[in-house]
Protein backbone atom coordinates (compact mmCIF):
# COMPACT_ATOMS: atom_id res chain seq x y z
CA UNK A 1 0.00 0.00 0.00
CA UNK A 2 1.23 3.45 -0.84
CA UNK A 3 1.97 5.89 1.87
CA UNK A 4 -0.63 8.55 2.48
CA UNK A 5 0.72 11.91 1.41
CA UNK A 6 -2.31 13.92 2.28
CA UNK A 7 -2.51 15.23 5.78
CA UNK A 8 -5.57 16.88 7.15
CA UNK A 9 -5.40 19.22 10.05
CA UNK A 10 -8.27 19.92 12.34
CA UNK A 11 -10.71 22.35 10.88
CA UNK A 12 -10.08 25.24 13.20
CA UNK A 13 -12.64 27.68 11.89
CA UNK A 14 -15.67 27.96 14.07
CA UNK A 15 -17.62 29.02 11.03
CA UNK A 16 -16.90 25.86 9.19
CA UNK A 17 -17.87 23.65 12.05
CA UNK A 18 -21.09 25.52 12.59
CA UNK A 19 -21.87 25.51 8.92
CA UNK A 20 -21.37 21.82 8.51
CA UNK A 21 -23.32 20.93 11.59
CA UNK A 22 -26.60 22.20 10.35
CA UNK A 23 -29.13 19.60 9.53
CA UNK A 24 -27.96 16.60 11.47
CA UNK A 25 -29.25 13.48 9.87
CA UNK A 26 -32.68 14.69 8.97
CA UNK A 27 -33.28 14.13 5.31
CA UNK A 28 -33.57 17.75 4.47
CA UNK A 29 -31.57 20.26 2.52
CA UNK A 30 -29.45 19.65 -0.49
CA UNK A 31 -25.92 18.65 0.21
CA UNK A 32 -24.39 20.88 2.80
CA UNK A 33 -20.92 19.95 1.76
CA UNK A 34 -21.73 20.55 -1.85
CA UNK A 35 -23.01 23.94 -0.92
CA UNK A 36 -19.83 24.47 0.98
CA UNK A 37 -17.78 24.18 -2.12
CA UNK A 38 -19.73 26.90 -3.82
CA UNK A 39 -19.03 29.33 -1.06
CA UNK A 40 -15.49 30.47 -1.49
CA UNK A 41 -15.78 32.94 1.34
CA UNK A 42 -16.53 30.14 3.69
CA UNK A 43 -13.59 28.02 2.76
CA UNK A 44 -11.12 30.66 1.82
CA UNK A 45 -9.45 31.37 5.11
CA UNK A 46 -8.66 28.07 6.64
CA UNK A 47 -7.98 25.57 3.98
CA UNK A 48 -4.28 25.32 4.64
CA UNK A 49 -4.43 21.94 6.23
CA UNK A 50 -4.37 19.85 3.12
CA UNK A 51 -1.34 19.22 1.01
CA UNK A 52 -1.10 17.65 -2.37
CA UNK A 53 -4.53 18.72 -3.34
CA UNK A 54 -5.00 17.07 -6.67
CA UNK A 55 -8.30 15.60 -5.71
CA UNK A 56 -10.19 17.94 -7.94
CA UNK A 57 -11.69 20.18 -5.28
CA UNK A 58 -11.35 23.91 -4.96
CA UNK A 59 -9.64 25.70 -2.15
CA UNK A 60 -7.79 22.69 -0.88
CA UNK A 61 -10.97 20.79 -0.20
CA UNK A 62 -10.85 17.18 -1.31
CA UNK A 63 -13.30 16.20 -4.01
CA UNK A 64 -14.44 12.58 -4.04
CA UNK A 65 -14.25 12.36 -7.82
CA UNK A 66 -16.63 10.58 -10.14
CA UNK A 67 -17.32 7.06 -11.40
CA UNK A 68 -15.69 4.17 -9.57
CA UNK A 69 -13.26 6.39 -7.69
CA UNK A 70 -16.03 8.71 -6.61
CA UNK A 71 -18.15 5.88 -5.27
CA UNK A 72 -15.21 4.22 -3.50
CA UNK A 73 -14.21 7.50 -1.87
CA UNK A 74 -17.82 8.16 -0.95
CA UNK A 75 -18.15 4.71 0.61
CA UNK A 76 -14.86 5.27 2.41
CA UNK A 77 -16.23 8.49 3.90
CA UNK A 78 -19.41 6.77 5.08
CA UNK A 79 -17.53 3.82 6.53
CA UNK A 80 -15.18 6.18 8.34
CA UNK A 81 -18.25 7.87 9.80
CA UNK A 82 -19.82 4.61 10.92
CA UNK A 83 -16.58 3.24 12.35
CA UNK A 84 -15.98 6.47 14.27
CA UNK A 85 -19.51 6.37 15.61
CA UNK A 86 -19.23 2.82 16.93
CA UNK A 87 -15.79 3.56 18.36
CA UNK A 88 -17.46 6.23 20.43
CA UNK A 89 -20.31 3.88 21.30
CA UNK A 90 -17.91 1.31 22.72
CA UNK A 91 -16.29 4.02 24.81
CA UNK A 92 -19.59 5.26 26.22
CA UNK A 93 -21.22 4.31 29.49
CA UNK A 94 -24.40 3.05 27.82
CA UNK A 95 -22.52 0.31 26.01
CA UNK A 96 -20.47 -0.48 29.09
CA UNK A 97 -23.61 -1.25 31.04
CA UNK A 98 -25.81 -2.56 28.26
CA UNK A 99 -27.41 -5.99 28.29
CA UNK A 100 -25.50 -8.86 26.77
CA UNK A 101 -27.45 -8.97 23.51
CA UNK A 102 -27.25 -5.25 22.77
CA UNK A 103 -23.62 -5.15 23.77
CA UNK A 104 -22.76 -7.97 21.41
CA UNK A 105 -24.66 -6.48 18.49
CA UNK A 106 -22.99 -3.09 18.84
CA UNK A 107 -19.57 -4.68 19.22
CA UNK A 108 -20.16 -6.71 16.06
CA UNK A 109 -21.21 -3.57 14.22
CA UNK A 110 -18.05 -1.82 15.39
CA UNK A 111 -15.94 -4.70 14.13
CA UNK A 112 -17.68 -4.84 10.76
CA UNK A 113 -17.54 -1.11 10.11
CA UNK A 114 -13.86 -0.85 11.05
CA UNK A 115 -13.22 -3.73 8.68
CA UNK A 116 -15.16 -1.98 5.90
CA UNK A 117 -13.29 1.25 6.52
CA UNK A 118 -9.90 -0.40 6.23
CA UNK A 119 -11.02 -2.36 3.19
CA UNK A 120 -11.85 0.83 1.29
CA UNK A 121 -8.61 2.43 2.39
CA UNK A 122 -6.65 -0.54 1.06
CA UNK A 123 -8.68 -0.89 -2.13
CA UNK A 124 -8.47 2.80 -2.96
CA UNK A 125 -4.75 3.05 -2.31
CA UNK A 126 -4.09 -0.08 -4.35
CA UNK A 127 -5.82 1.49 -7.33
CA UNK A 128 -5.28 5.23 -7.19
CA UNK A 129 -2.42 7.53 -6.33
CA UNK A 130 -2.71 8.84 -2.81
CA UNK A 131 -3.76 12.36 -3.75
CA UNK A 132 -6.89 10.86 -5.34
CA UNK A 133 -7.84 8.96 -2.20
CA UNK A 134 -9.96 10.51 0.52
CA UNK A 135 -7.75 11.18 3.52
CA UNK A 136 -7.85 8.71 6.38
CA UNK A 137 -8.82 9.96 9.79
CA UNK A 138 -11.59 12.31 8.81
CA UNK A 139 -12.82 14.24 11.80
CA UNK A 140 -16.37 13.93 13.00
CA UNK A 141 -18.68 15.91 15.22
CA UNK A 142 -20.86 13.69 17.39
CA UNK A 143 -21.93 16.48 19.73
CA UNK A 144 -25.58 15.72 18.89
CA UNK A 145 -25.17 12.16 20.20
CA UNK A 146 -25.19 11.22 23.88
CA UNK A 147 -23.07 8.10 24.04
CA UNK A 148 -24.21 7.54 27.60
CA UNK A 149 -27.83 7.31 26.56
CA UNK A 150 -29.37 4.19 25.07
CA UNK A 151 -32.02 5.91 22.97
CA UNK A 152 -29.51 8.36 21.53
CA UNK A 153 -27.05 5.61 20.60
CA UNK A 154 -29.63 3.25 19.12
CA UNK A 155 -31.46 6.05 17.30
CA UNK A 156 -28.25 7.29 15.72
CA UNK A 157 -27.16 3.77 14.85
CA UNK A 158 -30.46 3.21 13.11
CA UNK A 159 -30.12 6.41 11.10
CA UNK A 160 -26.54 5.64 10.12
CA UNK A 161 -27.31 2.08 9.05
CA UNK A 162 -30.46 3.03 7.14
CA UNK A 163 -28.53 5.87 5.52
CA UNK A 164 -25.76 3.46 4.61
CA UNK A 165 -28.23 1.13 2.92
CA UNK A 166 -29.84 3.91 0.94
CA UNK A 167 -26.42 5.26 0.00
CA UNK A 168 -25.09 1.99 -1.40
CA UNK A 169 -28.39 1.31 -3.14
CA UNK A 170 -28.27 4.71 -4.79
CA UNK A 171 -24.58 4.52 -5.68
CA UNK A 172 -24.78 1.20 -7.50
CA UNK A 173 -25.75 2.80 -10.79
CA UNK A 174 -22.70 5.08 -10.70
CA UNK A 175 -20.28 2.16 -10.47
CA UNK A 176 -18.61 1.32 -13.78
CA UNK A 177 -16.74 -1.87 -12.96
CA UNK A 178 -18.63 -5.06 -12.19
CA UNK A 179 -16.15 -6.20 -9.55
CA UNK A 180 -16.74 -3.03 -7.55
CA UNK A 181 -20.49 -3.42 -7.89
CA UNK A 182 -20.22 -6.91 -6.44
CA UNK A 183 -18.15 -5.65 -3.51
CA UNK A 184 -20.63 -2.87 -2.83
CA UNK A 185 -23.31 -5.56 -2.87
CA UNK A 186 -21.37 -7.67 -0.38
CA UNK A 187 -21.27 -4.74 2.00
CA UNK A 188 -24.73 -3.24 1.56
CA UNK A 189 -26.51 -6.43 2.55
CA UNK A 190 -24.51 -6.48 5.76
CA UNK A 191 -25.47 -2.85 6.38
CA UNK A 192 -29.08 -3.89 5.87
CA UNK A 193 -28.64 -6.76 8.32
CA UNK A 194 -27.28 -4.20 10.79
CA UNK A 195 -30.14 -1.81 10.20
CA UNK A 196 -32.68 -4.57 10.81
CA UNK A 197 -30.91 -5.69 13.99
CA UNK A 198 -30.89 -2.18 15.47
CA UNK A 199 -34.45 -1.60 14.32
CA UNK A 200 -35.50 -4.88 15.86
CA UNK A 201 -34.26 -3.68 19.26
CA UNK A 202 -36.03 -0.35 18.88
CA UNK A 203 -39.16 -2.08 17.56
CA UNK A 204 -39.18 -4.36 20.57
CA UNK A 205 -39.23 -1.30 22.83
CA UNK A 206 -42.19 0.02 20.88
CA UNK A 207 -43.98 -3.33 20.65
CA UNK A 208 -43.77 -2.98 16.88
CA UNK A 209 -42.44 -6.25 15.54
CA UNK A 210 -42.50 -5.01 11.95
CA UNK A 211 -39.99 -2.25 12.59
CA UNK A 212 -36.96 -4.32 11.43
CA UNK A 213 -38.19 -3.56 7.90
CA UNK A 214 -40.75 -0.92 8.75
CA UNK A 215 -43.00 0.84 6.31
CA UNK A 216 -40.90 3.98 6.89
CA UNK A 217 -37.93 2.42 5.06
CA UNK A 218 -39.43 -0.34 2.91
CA UNK A 219 -42.25 0.95 0.75
CA UNK A 220 -45.17 -1.37 1.57
CA UNK A 221 -46.60 -1.02 -1.93
CA UNK A 222 -43.45 -1.97 -3.84
CA UNK A 223 -41.41 -3.79 -1.22
CA UNK A 224 -38.45 -1.59 -2.12
CA UNK A 225 -35.83 -0.21 0.24
CA UNK A 226 -34.58 3.35 0.02
CA UNK A 227 -32.05 4.46 -2.61
CA UNK A 228 -30.53 7.92 -2.41
CA UNK A 229 -28.04 9.85 -4.52
CA UNK A 230 -24.78 10.87 -2.87
CA UNK A 231 -25.85 14.52 -2.71
CA UNK A 232 -28.88 13.59 -0.64
CA UNK A 233 -26.88 11.31 1.64
CA UNK A 234 -24.08 13.79 2.15
CA UNK A 235 -26.69 16.42 2.84
CA UNK A 236 -28.30 14.18 5.41
CA UNK A 237 -25.12 13.02 7.13
CA UNK A 238 -23.15 16.22 6.56
CA UNK A 239 -23.72 17.38 10.11
CA UNK A 240 -21.31 14.73 11.35
CA UNK A 241 -18.41 15.66 9.08
CA UNK A 242 -15.93 18.23 10.34
CA UNK A 243 -13.32 17.58 7.68
CA UNK A 244 -14.82 19.04 4.54
CA UNK A 245 -14.94 17.34 1.18
CA UNK A 246 -16.97 17.85 -1.95
CA UNK A 247 -18.77 15.52 -4.33
CA UNK A 248 -18.89 17.67 -7.41
CA UNK A 249 -18.74 14.78 -9.86
CA UNK A 250 -21.39 12.65 -8.18
CA UNK A 251 -25.14 13.05 -8.63
Amino acid sequence: MKKQKITVTTANGRNRRKFLKVGGLALVGSGLLLACDDDEEMMGDDDGGMEGDDGGGDDGVFDLGGGDRGVLNYAYALEQLEAAFYTNVLNGTYWGGAGEMEKKILEDLYNHEVNHREFFKAALNATYSSELVLPANLEFDFSTVDFNDRDSVLGTARLLEDTGVSAYNGAGKIIETGAYLVIAGKIVSVEARHAAAIRSIIGGDMDDFTFFAGDDVVDPATGLDMALDPSAVIGAAGGFFITPFTANELP
Binding site: A122, A123, G178, I187, S189, T210, F212, A213, G223, L224
Partner: protein, 277 residues
Protein backbone atom coordinates in the same frame (compact mmCIF):
# COMPACT_ATOMS: atom_id res chain seq x y z
CA UNK B 1 -27.58 -22.30 -18.39
CA UNK B 2 -30.72 -20.76 -19.72
CA UNK B 3 -32.96 -20.41 -16.74
CA UNK B 4 -36.00 -19.74 -18.84
CA UNK B 5 -35.60 -23.08 -20.55
CA UNK B 6 -35.85 -24.97 -17.35
CA UNK B 7 -38.41 -22.60 -15.93
CA UNK B 8 -40.62 -23.28 -18.89
CA UNK B 9 -40.79 -26.80 -17.67
CA UNK B 10 -42.54 -25.53 -14.59
CA UNK B 11 -45.29 -23.51 -16.10
CA UNK B 12 -48.74 -24.73 -15.28
CA UNK B 13 -49.40 -25.87 -18.81
CA UNK B 14 -46.31 -27.92 -18.98
CA UNK B 15 -46.95 -29.47 -15.64
CA UNK B 16 -50.46 -30.47 -16.62
CA UNK B 17 -49.50 -31.72 -20.03
CA UNK B 18 -46.53 -33.68 -19.00
CA UNK B 19 -47.33 -34.90 -15.53
CA UNK B 20 -43.66 -34.55 -15.72
CA UNK B 21 -41.25 -36.84 -14.11
CA UNK B 22 -38.61 -35.14 -12.11
CA UNK B 23 -36.08 -36.17 -14.67
CA UNK B 24 -38.00 -34.53 -17.46
CA UNK B 25 -38.51 -31.40 -15.47
CA UNK B 26 -34.84 -30.92 -14.95
CA UNK B 27 -34.06 -31.82 -18.50
CA UNK B 28 -32.84 -28.44 -19.54
CA UNK B 29 -30.62 -27.78 -16.59
CA UNK B 30 -26.92 -27.90 -17.18
CA UNK B 31 -25.62 -31.41 -16.87
CA UNK B 32 -23.88 -30.62 -13.64
CA UNK B 33 -27.03 -29.21 -12.16
CA UNK B 34 -29.22 -31.88 -13.62
CA UNK B 35 -27.32 -34.69 -12.03
CA UNK B 36 -27.57 -33.11 -8.64
CA UNK B 37 -31.17 -32.12 -9.02
CA UNK B 38 -32.35 -35.52 -10.12
CA UNK B 39 -30.24 -37.45 -7.70
CA UNK B 40 -30.55 -35.22 -4.75
CA UNK B 41 -34.13 -34.17 -4.33
CA UNK B 42 -35.22 -34.03 -1.67
CA UNK B 43 -32.15 -34.85 0.37
CA UNK B 44 -28.70 -36.08 -0.30
CA UNK B 45 -27.13 -32.78 -1.10
CA UNK B 46 -23.96 -33.89 0.56
CA UNK B 47 -22.10 -33.32 -2.65
CA UNK B 48 -23.35 -29.84 -3.15
CA UNK B 49 -20.47 -28.12 -1.43
CA UNK B 50 -17.86 -29.42 -3.81
CA UNK B 51 -20.05 -29.02 -6.79
CA UNK B 52 -20.91 -25.44 -6.05
CA UNK B 53 -17.25 -24.68 -5.66
CA UNK B 54 -16.54 -26.29 -8.96
CA UNK B 55 -19.26 -24.42 -10.74
CA UNK B 56 -17.94 -21.64 -12.85
CA UNK B 57 -19.49 -18.28 -13.28
CA UNK B 58 -21.83 -18.63 -16.17
CA UNK B 59 -23.58 -15.83 -17.95
CA UNK B 60 -21.55 -12.97 -16.50
CA UNK B 61 -22.66 -9.49 -17.46
CA UNK B 62 -24.96 -10.76 -20.08
CA UNK B 63 -28.54 -11.36 -19.47
CA UNK B 64 -30.91 -9.14 -17.49
CA UNK B 65 -33.85 -11.34 -18.43
CA UNK B 66 -32.40 -14.48 -16.90
CA UNK B 67 -31.46 -12.48 -13.83
CA UNK B 68 -35.02 -11.27 -13.42
CA UNK B 69 -36.43 -14.71 -14.06
CA UNK B 70 -34.29 -16.19 -11.34
CA UNK B 71 -35.50 -13.40 -9.07
CA UNK B 72 -39.11 -14.10 -9.97
CA UNK B 73 -38.69 -17.81 -9.25
CA UNK B 74 -37.23 -17.06 -5.83
CA UNK B 75 -39.92 -14.50 -5.07
CA UNK B 76 -42.68 -16.92 -6.10
CA UNK B 77 -41.27 -19.43 -3.66
CA UNK B 78 -41.01 -16.85 -0.89
CA UNK B 79 -44.44 -15.39 -1.52
CA UNK B 80 -46.07 -18.81 -1.45
CA UNK B 81 -44.08 -19.83 1.61
CA UNK B 82 -45.09 -16.86 3.76
CA UNK B 83 -48.73 -17.01 2.72
CA UNK B 84 -48.91 -20.71 3.55
CA UNK B 85 -46.99 -20.15 6.78
CA UNK B 86 -49.45 -17.49 7.93
CA UNK B 87 -52.44 -19.63 6.88
CA UNK B 88 -51.13 -22.73 8.59
CA UNK B 89 -51.79 -21.60 12.14
CA UNK B 90 -48.32 -22.73 13.16
CA UNK B 91 -47.39 -19.14 14.00
CA UNK B 92 -50.58 -18.29 15.85
CA UNK B 93 -49.06 -18.87 19.27
CA UNK B 94 -46.00 -16.79 18.37
CA UNK B 95 -47.32 -13.24 17.95
CA UNK B 96 -43.91 -11.68 17.32
CA UNK B 97 -43.02 -14.21 14.64
CA UNK B 98 -46.46 -13.84 13.12
CA UNK B 99 -46.04 -10.06 12.88
CA UNK B 100 -42.61 -10.52 11.32
CA UNK B 101 -43.96 -13.01 8.78
CA UNK B 102 -46.85 -10.70 7.87
CA UNK B 103 -44.44 -7.86 7.19
CA UNK B 104 -42.17 -10.07 5.09
CA UNK B 105 -45.13 -11.58 3.25
CA UNK B 106 -46.25 -8.13 2.24
CA UNK B 107 -42.84 -7.41 0.72
CA UNK B 108 -42.49 -10.72 -1.12
CA UNK B 109 -45.95 -10.36 -2.64
CA UNK B 110 -45.00 -6.88 -3.83
CA UNK B 111 -41.72 -8.19 -5.25
CA UNK B 112 -43.54 -10.79 -7.33
CA UNK B 113 -45.81 -8.14 -8.82
CA UNK B 114 -42.85 -5.87 -9.49
CA UNK B 115 -40.85 -8.57 -11.26
CA UNK B 116 -43.82 -9.78 -13.27
CA UNK B 117 -44.24 -6.22 -14.47
CA UNK B 118 -40.56 -5.81 -15.24
CA UNK B 119 -40.44 -9.07 -17.19
CA UNK B 120 -43.65 -8.53 -19.14
CA UNK B 121 -43.94 -11.31 -21.68
CA UNK B 122 -40.83 -12.96 -20.29
CA UNK B 123 -42.58 -13.61 -16.99
CA UNK B 124 -43.84 -17.11 -16.22
CA UNK B 125 -46.63 -18.41 -14.01
CA UNK B 126 -45.99 -19.47 -10.47
CA UNK B 127 -44.64 -23.02 -10.41
CA UNK B 128 -46.02 -25.73 -8.20
CA UNK B 129 -44.03 -25.66 -4.99
CA UNK B 130 -43.48 -28.29 -2.34
CA UNK B 131 -42.22 -27.07 1.03
CA UNK B 132 -42.17 -30.59 2.45
CA UNK B 133 -39.28 -31.57 0.19
CA UNK B 134 -41.01 -34.75 -0.80
CA UNK B 135 -42.60 -35.35 2.56
CA UNK B 136 -39.48 -34.98 4.65
CA UNK B 137 -40.61 -31.75 6.25
CA UNK B 138 -43.96 -30.56 7.51
CA UNK B 139 -43.49 -26.85 8.20
CA UNK B 140 -47.20 -26.09 7.99
CA UNK B 141 -48.20 -29.00 10.28
CA UNK B 142 -50.39 -30.52 7.61
CA UNK B 143 -50.08 -33.97 9.11
CA UNK B 144 -52.10 -34.50 12.26
CA UNK B 145 -49.21 -36.09 14.12
CA UNK B 146 -46.70 -33.33 13.50
CA UNK B 147 -45.51 -31.70 16.70
CA UNK B 148 -46.33 -27.98 16.43
CA UNK B 149 -42.95 -27.13 17.92
CA UNK B 150 -41.21 -29.13 15.20
CA UNK B 151 -43.29 -27.40 12.55
CA UNK B 152 -42.43 -24.03 14.06
CA UNK B 153 -38.74 -24.86 13.93
CA UNK B 154 -39.03 -25.86 10.29
CA UNK B 155 -41.02 -22.79 9.37
CA UNK B 156 -38.24 -20.61 10.79
CA UNK B 157 -35.45 -22.66 9.27
CA UNK B 158 -36.95 -22.53 5.79
CA UNK B 159 -37.46 -18.77 6.07
CA UNK B 160 -33.82 -18.31 7.00
CA UNK B 161 -32.71 -20.41 4.06
CA UNK B 162 -34.92 -18.49 1.63
CA UNK B 163 -33.85 -15.06 2.86
CA UNK B 164 -30.13 -15.80 3.03
CA UNK B 165 -30.45 -17.42 -0.40
CA UNK B 166 -32.26 -14.37 -1.74
CA UNK B 167 -29.51 -12.06 -0.56
CA UNK B 168 -26.84 -14.10 -2.33
CA UNK B 169 -28.88 -14.65 -5.49
CA UNK B 170 -29.73 -10.98 -6.04
CA UNK B 171 -26.15 -10.02 -5.30
CA UNK B 172 -24.96 -12.54 -7.84
CA UNK B 173 -27.17 -11.01 -10.52
CA UNK B 174 -26.16 -7.39 -9.93
CA UNK B 175 -23.61 -7.35 -12.72
CA UNK B 176 -26.11 -8.90 -15.10
CA UNK B 177 -28.47 -5.97 -14.74
CA UNK B 178 -25.89 -3.19 -14.49
CA UNK B 179 -26.36 -2.24 -18.12
CA UNK B 180 -29.75 -0.86 -17.07
CA UNK B 181 -29.26 1.66 -14.22
CA UNK B 182 -32.94 1.83 -13.25
CA UNK B 183 -33.24 -1.93 -13.18
CA UNK B 184 -30.03 -2.24 -11.18
CA UNK B 185 -31.32 0.19 -8.59
CA UNK B 186 -34.58 -1.71 -8.20
CA UNK B 187 -32.67 -4.98 -7.85
CA UNK B 188 -30.49 -3.43 -5.17
CA UNK B 189 -33.56 -2.09 -3.40
CA UNK B 190 -35.01 -5.61 -3.25
CA UNK B 191 -31.64 -7.11 -2.30
CA UNK B 192 -31.32 -5.00 0.86
CA UNK B 193 -34.89 -5.81 1.87
CA UNK B 194 -34.08 -9.52 1.65
CA UNK B 195 -31.10 -8.82 3.90
CA UNK B 196 -33.28 -7.04 6.44
CA UNK B 197 -35.60 -10.05 6.41
CA UNK B 198 -32.70 -12.45 6.80
CA UNK B 199 -31.35 -10.58 9.79
CA UNK B 200 -34.69 -10.64 11.60
CA UNK B 201 -35.47 -14.29 10.86
CA UNK B 202 -32.00 -15.28 12.05
CA UNK B 203 -32.62 -13.32 15.22
CA UNK B 204 -35.93 -15.15 15.76
CA UNK B 205 -33.92 -18.36 15.53
CA UNK B 206 -31.47 -17.14 18.16
CA UNK B 207 -28.66 -16.47 15.71
CA UNK B 208 -26.74 -13.33 14.83
CA UNK B 209 -28.27 -11.37 12.00
CA UNK B 210 -25.07 -11.93 10.01
CA UNK B 211 -23.30 -15.04 8.76
CA UNK B 212 -20.10 -16.27 10.38
CA UNK B 213 -17.81 -18.27 8.14
CA UNK B 214 -19.96 -20.65 6.13
CA UNK B 215 -22.02 -21.67 9.15
CA UNK B 216 -25.65 -22.32 8.36
CA UNK B 217 -26.38 -21.96 12.07
CA UNK B 218 -27.68 -24.23 14.75
CA UNK B 219 -30.75 -26.25 13.86
CA UNK B 220 -30.57 -25.64 10.13
CA UNK B 221 -31.18 -28.79 8.06
CA UNK B 222 -28.10 -30.06 6.30
CA UNK B 223 -29.44 -29.46 2.80
CA UNK B 224 -29.45 -25.72 3.50
CA UNK B 225 -25.64 -25.75 3.65
CA UNK B 226 -25.70 -25.03 -0.07
CA UNK B 227 -26.93 -21.55 0.82
CA UNK B 228 -23.78 -20.89 2.86
CA UNK B 229 -21.08 -22.37 0.68
CA UNK B 230 -18.15 -19.98 0.20
CA UNK B 231 -19.51 -17.48 2.71
CA UNK B 232 -16.19 -17.84 4.51
CA UNK B 233 -14.40 -15.90 1.78
CA UNK B 234 -12.32 -13.02 3.13
CA UNK B 235 -10.76 -11.71 -0.09
CA UNK B 236 -12.58 -9.00 -1.98
CA UNK B 237 -11.16 -7.29 -5.03
CA UNK B 238 -7.79 -8.83 -4.26
CA UNK B 239 -7.76 -7.49 -0.69
CA UNK B 240 -7.69 -10.09 2.07
CA UNK B 241 -9.45 -8.21 4.83
CA UNK B 242 -7.99 -10.45 7.55
CA UNK B 243 -4.60 -8.94 6.70
CA UNK B 244 -5.65 -5.34 7.29
CA UNK B 245 -5.07 -5.40 11.04
CA UNK B 246 -4.44 -7.57 14.05
CA UNK B 247 -7.39 -6.90 16.31
CA UNK B 248 -10.96 -8.17 16.48
CA UNK B 249 -12.35 -6.36 13.41
CA UNK B 250 -9.90 -8.34 11.25
CA UNK B 251 -10.34 -11.72 12.85
CA UNK B 252 -11.94 -14.51 10.85
CA UNK B 253 -15.34 -14.11 12.47
CA UNK B 254 -15.74 -10.39 11.89
CA UNK B 255 -14.07 -10.54 8.50
CA UNK B 256 -16.56 -13.09 7.24
CA UNK B 257 -19.58 -11.53 8.93
CA UNK B 258 -18.85 -8.14 7.40
CA UNK B 259 -19.25 -9.34 3.80
CA UNK B 260 -21.99 -11.41 2.22
CA UNK B 261 -21.12 -13.49 -0.81
CA UNK B 262 -22.73 -14.03 -4.19
CA UNK B 263 -24.27 -17.13 -5.71
CA UNK B 264 -24.32 -17.79 -9.43
CA UNK B 265 -27.52 -18.20 -11.39
CA UNK B 266 -26.87 -21.93 -11.60
CA UNK B 267 -26.21 -22.40 -7.92
CA UNK B 268 -29.16 -20.31 -6.78
CA UNK B 269 -31.48 -21.91 -9.34
CA UNK B 270 -30.36 -25.34 -8.24
CA UNK B 271 -31.31 -24.63 -4.64
CA UNK B 272 -34.63 -23.10 -5.69
CA UNK B 273 -35.37 -26.16 -7.81
CA UNK B 274 -35.38 -28.31 -4.69
CA UNK B 275 -38.72 -26.76 -3.80
CA UNK B 276 -40.41 -27.29 -7.15
CA UNK B 277 -42.76 -30.22 -7.19
Amino acid sequence: MSIIKFLEEFTTDNLMNKASSRRAMFGSLSSLTKKAAVAAVPFGLATMGNKAKAATTSSAYADPTSALQLALLLEYIEKDFYIQALDSGVLSTYPKSEAVYMQISKHETAHVALLQGALGDAAFDAPSIDFTLGGNFDPFAEKSDTDPMIAYGQILALAQAFEDLGVRAYKGQATNVMSDPALLTVALQIHSVEARHASEIRKLRGLDGWITGSERGEGMPFFTQAVYVNEENTTHGGVDVTMLGDDAPFGFESSTQAYDETLTLDDAGEIAALFLS
